[in-house]
């Protein structure tokens, strides 16, 4: 069964304090790994898709990386507006095109 585990569940940082969020996964053949941002009361907002080990993608203060077992979302010099829940999901090569999500990491950036 495809599975995604995110850690930590919650993370508090000071503005400017860089850190990383972890997403460990098991999947029967990876089609893609997805990162989403979710603000309270809203639907997930797409950030990145990674397809193969070694791939990296960047957007502003965020960089996502991928290995065969996990993905990291690195946040550099975060600002309070980066506070949100970050969701990781995988899509398998075979079967339904559904996404299997982790439970998310709730990130709070204090000014």
């Amino acid at each position: 069964e495809d599975q995604v585990t995110q850690s930590p569940e919650a993370l508090r940082l000071q503005e400017g304090e860089s850190s990383s969020l972890n997403c460990s996964y098991t999947v029967s053949g990876l089609r893609g790994l997805f990162w989403y941002r979710q603000d309270p009361g809203k639907g997930p907002e797409f950030l990145f898709t990674l397809y193969s080990a070694g791939e990296e993608k960047e957007k502003e203060r965020l960089k996502a990386t991928l290995t065969k077992k996990e993905s990291f979302l690195h946040i550099t010099a975060p600002k309070p507006e980066d506070s949100a829940t970050y969701l990781c999901a995988v899509q398998a090569l075979v079967g339904a095109q559904k996404l299997v999500f982790g439970q998310g990491t709730r990130l709070t950036i204090n000014p």
């Binding site: 095109q97 999500f101 439970q103």
Partner: protein, 114 residues
């Protein structure tokens, strides 16, 4: 253009009543998904529609849940005889084309069953 829209944004119902939730995908998107998100949890897949193909219903938790989609337009998720454990946010997503994997989500419907 407009994103995925869902209605109602909030729904409060009594245990045992039926509810209908609506999703309007982005125009031209061929695939549509429903997910459920319980408080503090990740999203759980419910059902997937792709064009005129038979839907993938493998995520529906019980036969009280059903969904319909007309062509490549609106979808309705129906929950019959609601239970308190059905309380959750129900999210809809769509993708622009068959080969695209990026799912774009609507704002969700927050369902509370009393």
């Amino acid at each position: 253009g407009a994103g995925v829209s869902q209605s109602p944004s909030n729904k409060v119902t009594e245990k045992g009543k039926d509810v209908e939730l609506r999703c309007d995908p982005i125009s031209g998107h061929t695939a549509l998904y429903w997910y459920r998100q319980r408080l503090g949890q990740g999203l759980e897949f419910l059902i997937y529609f792709q064009g005129n193909s038979a839907p993938d219903k493998s995520g529906l938790p019980s036969d009280r849940f059903s969904a319909e989609r007309t062509g490549e337009s609106v979808s309705t998720l129906t929950i019959q005889r609601t239970q308190q454990e059905d309380s959750a946010v129900y999210l809809c997503a769509s993708t622009p084309q068959l080969s695209s994997e990026t799912q774009y989500f609507g704002p969700g419907t927050r369902l509370l069953v009393l």
